[in-house]
């Protein structure tokens, strides 16, 4: 049992580390392209693999620890400068990431021999063999350093010293006199500060009695673009001296860039700090809390009822009034509690961006198309569960964009576009929803191609020429794939219809806009959380239902004169529109109840379509928690789940989209 929970912890921790590593390797790649690789980034990657090795070794996951061990060796050579930091290294690192993900998945599935680290391992070892011979090491003729100091430098420090020289940084010997009691803190402070403007290459304790009792002396080897005076100014302390150890000083104007580039480092450190203040919580625990809150909401309703009854029975007695105040107070507190718990479930969308970035890299390699993925709005927050569910649909859309949207470099050149295609992924909040857009600058949806393909598949009569709106509808219909041949990327018979289904499963909807030659944009709109939603409670006959407000556009009282039939199907004339009428009892095949005097129409929107649900009563708005009815009752058309509204029985939550689908299909079959 203990072992199992340790394994679970390992998996979640490893996944967290890998997630972060993906980001780090990506920044490594960018920094290689910009030629400003920061040593601390390589160090960080090294450390992360090191901890992966550590924890996997501790738990006896030999496959993982064995692999990370080799990788660690390679990274060690990398940070010592024995291997050049190149795209090749990045490629191997990315392949290693894929492998790590695979091996962890294996661990979850309890398999051990599905994945062979061999091929990647060979590449890692090739890199290790490739050690760059750097003859200049260990001799620093240009530096005013005594032999003893040189000998006390570690291999890594030597390498860094060398790098700093190559980059033309100023090199200083910074001498600090610190108090015995506080030297560790002060030393760290000073090092941090110095590291923002350069690199502390080595920290050497020094034995000087002259400093006086209770004092310690340190020498820092410091590489920077700053002058000695500037260093002292930055440190703002008196017991520090800085002397240059370069014999010939060839000043370079790298001061500003250095300062600028060190900024992200600072940000990194603060983010690390906040990380250590987080607690990892199983989302199920939060679900339980929300359940309890849901029950408390019902209890509150009961308290309110009792207070009303008390007042009705005894008039405005003191007890009755106090009780009703308590109920109001309770409601406020509960709302606050609810809001707080929901906030804990929200995580930034940026979490899946990393994953998608990895995929785009892979796909652009496979398709030989150059694609850049641009992100924005990574801080936009969404329910953790939804983020998980979102990555598949997003991957699919991006795959489509690379496979069908983005043209080859030649084609792009001809069209006067830049060689590299761009996919923009942006997220932002709009009201109570989160909008996620995937926009490519490819060729757009080609009506002609869609039309051809649709005919081939019998989705379109031969004589019909669809407009763009119809084309988009066709794209979302089951079994449609516009690729001439089924490719590994977007073929496989899974189409946008699945994407649409997934999104509507999350109570969201998807829309598309496209311009031929200019590109396509998919827009996904989602509620921030599924945990608690606003719903309208309606009644038909004896039964109440909850309809999520997100799918309702308006409610109207039915004017019988506006009901007509078209081909025996009921429709309603709502202002200038004619929309189908849906009777819940018909869809659910319940006995027809006597129609009340007055009926209402709940207009629901499904994508761009509307339909009207006929109900006998609108019983008010309420916040509800949609609950699953278990595996067996999971896929009943028209029903999203069940909820409690403070009455003796649960009520079913209507899934407007599948309800409309079910209703119209039912009629088609009947007709």
């Amino acid at each position: 049992m203990e072992k199992e929970s340790a394994k679970r912890d390992f998996i979640s921790e490893a996944e967290e580390i890998l997630e972060e590593l993906t980001g780090d390797i990506q920044s490594l790649e960018t920094s290689i392209r910009r030629n400003n690789v920061r040593p601390d980034l390589i160090n960080k990657i090294f450390r992360q693999f090191h901890s992966l090795k550590g924890i996997s070794g501790m738990l006896g996951f030999e496959k993982i620890s064995g692999f990370t061990h080799e990788l660690e060796n390679m990274l060690d050579n990398l940070r010592l400068g024995k291997i050049a930091v190149s795209q090749k290294v990045v490629d191997v690192l990315f392949q290693s990431m894929d492998l790590m993900h695979g091996m962890i998945a294996e661990l979850i599935d309890e398999q051990t021999d599905g994945i062979d680290p061999g091929p990647v391992l060979r590449k890692v070892n090739e890199l290790i063999q490739e050690e760059e011979s750097s003859a200049q090491r260990n001799t620093f003729p240009g530096l005013d350093l005594d032999q003893q100091t040189l000998q006390s430098l570690t291999e890594y420090e030597e390498h860094r010293l060398h790098e700093n020289m190559i980059q033309g940084a100023q090199l200083y010997n910074v001498r600090l006199v610190l108090d015995n009691a506080t030297f560790d803190l002060e030393l760290r402070e000073i090092s941090d500060l110095l590291n923002q403007h350069g690199e502390v290459i080595s920290t050497l304790p020094s034995f000087e009695i002259s400093a006086g009792p209770g004092k310690m002396v340190f020498r820092l080897l410091y590489g920077t673009g700053l002058t000695a005076e500037a260093i002292l100014r930055k440190l703002g302390r008196t017991e520090i001296t800085a002397s240059s150890i370069r014999k010939e000083t060839n000043q370079t104007g790298r001061v500003e860039t250095l300062e600028e580039e060190q900024e992200p480092e600072k940000a990194l450190e603060t983010s690390l700090k906040s990380l250590s203040r987080t607690v990892r919580v199983d989302i199920q625990k939060l679900d339980e809390v929300i359940n309890v809150i849901g029950e408390l909401v019902i209890t509150r309703a009961m308290v309110a009822n009792v207070s009303r009854e008390l007042i009705a029975a005894e008039g405005h007695s003191r007890l009755g009034i106090t009780l009703s105040r308590v109920a109001v107070d309770l409601e406020k507190k509960l709302n606050e509690l609810q809001r707080n718990v929901i906030e804990t479930r929200l995580v930034p969308v940026g979490q899946i961006y990393h994953k998608l970035g990895r995929m785009v890299r892979k796909l652009s390699r496979e398709t030989n198309k150059q694609v850049d993925l641009r992100f924005s709005g990574e801080d936009t927050e969404l329910d953790k569960i939804m983020i998980e569910e979102l990555s598949d649909p997003l991957m699919h859309i991006i795959r489509n964009a690379i496979d069908h949207g983005i043209e080859s470099a030649d084609e792009r050149k001809k069209a006067g576009k830049p060689d590299r295609g761009t996919i923009r992924l942006s997220a932002f909040q709009r009201g109570n929803n989160v909008v996620i857009q995937v926009q490519d600058d490819g060729r757009g949806i080609q009506i002609k191609k869609v039309q051809e393909q649709a005919r081939k598949r019998g989705l379109l009569p031969a004589d019909r020429v669809p407009d763009i709106k119809e084309c988009i509808d066709i794209l979302f219909s089951p079994g449609f794939s516009s690729s001439d041949e089924v490719t590994e990327l977007s073929g496989r018979g899974v189409g946008l219809d699945v994407v649409k289904k997934n999104i509507s499963g999350l109570k969201g909807f998807i829309s598309v806009s496209t311009e031929e030659g200019r590109g396509t944009m998919f827009e996904i709109t989602l509620p921030i959380t599924l945990a608690i939603i606003q719903a309208l409670i309606v009644r038909t006959g004896e039964t109440k239902y909850a309809v999520p407000m997100s799918s309702i556009s308006e409610t109207v009282q039915i004017e019988n004169s506006n009901i007509h039939t078209v081909d025996r199907k009921e429709v309603y004339c709502l202002r200038d529109r004619t929309i189908p009428l849906i009777r819940i009892s018909e869809v659910f095949q319940l006995p027809q109840n006597v129609r009340g005097e007055r009926q209402y129409l709940v207009i629901v929107n499904v994508g761009e379509y509307s339909a009207g649900l006929v109900v006998d009563e609108l019983a008010g708005q309420q916040e509800i928690v949609i609950k699953s009815m278990g595996e067996k009752l999971k896929n009943i058309p028209g029903i999203a789940g069940a909820t409690e509204i403070g009455e003796s029985k649960p009520v079913l939550v209507i899934d407007a989209e599948s309800m409309v689908e079910e209703a119209t299909h039912g009629r088609m079959r009947a007709g």
Binding site: E295, T543, V587, M629, K632, K649
Partner: protein, 185 residues
């Protein structure tokens, strides 16, 4: 068991809803490998405890291992597009539980619920199911060797639901095969 005379053996039940599927699998594997956990597997294999309930004047028994709890009858909310013996769903401590009408499942006439009517809530992994029964009476220990085959008077689809019968004092208790009893789409 340590010599104390308790009729109910110590047994660990999966905690409600706290385990992910993954953990479930891990747990399953765990109990296979490590036989040595004394408090968890102290039951001789040939013995089980049976919850006895009544349906249409007959006594039925199910392995208590699957029983999460027993609640008083409450009216379920009907769910459309499902089998006729599923009366609907009830909420037990915030969890939605599909409820089967035990009488209908066995092909008996359904009865008006009264104050003895109970819903037996069963748990299998993360899935919950309720059975409406006329009443529940007791938990009896049963040695597997005392189970007799079902007498051939029961035929047709119902025969599959039955695991066998056994005698407790002068009661004849029909042991249900829960897996088949609860199998429906």
């Amino acid at each position: 068991m340590n010599g104390n005379e308790s009729k109910l053996p110590v047994r660990s039940y999966p905690q409600e809803g706290k385990q992910t599927e993954l953990l479930q699998r891990l747990l399953a594997e765990d109990s296979n490998q490590e036989e040595s956990l004394p408090t968890e597997v102290a039951i001789p294999e040939e013995q089980l405890d049976v919850l006895v309930f009544q349906l249409g004047g007959e006594h039925y028994g199910i392995d208590i291992h699957y029983v999460a709890e027993i609640v008083r009858y409450k009216e379920p909310a009907a769910v459309p597009h499902t089998v006729d013996f599923l009366d609907g769903i009830i909420s037990v401590r915030g969890r939605m539980i599909p409820v089967i009408n035990g009488r209908r499942r066995l092909g008996h006439e359904p009865a008006q619920p009264d104050k003895k009517t109970r819903i037996v809530v069963l748990q299998d992994g993360t899935e919950f199911q309720g059975i409406i029964v006329d009443s529940t009476s007791q938990v009896v220990p049963l040695l597997k060797k005392d189970i007799e085959p079902t007498p051939p008077v029961v035929t047709g689809f119902k025969a599959e639901f039955l695991e066998g019968v056994f005698r407790n004092r002068n009661q004849l208790i029909i042991l249900l095969n829960l897996q088949r009893f609860l199998q429906y789409v």
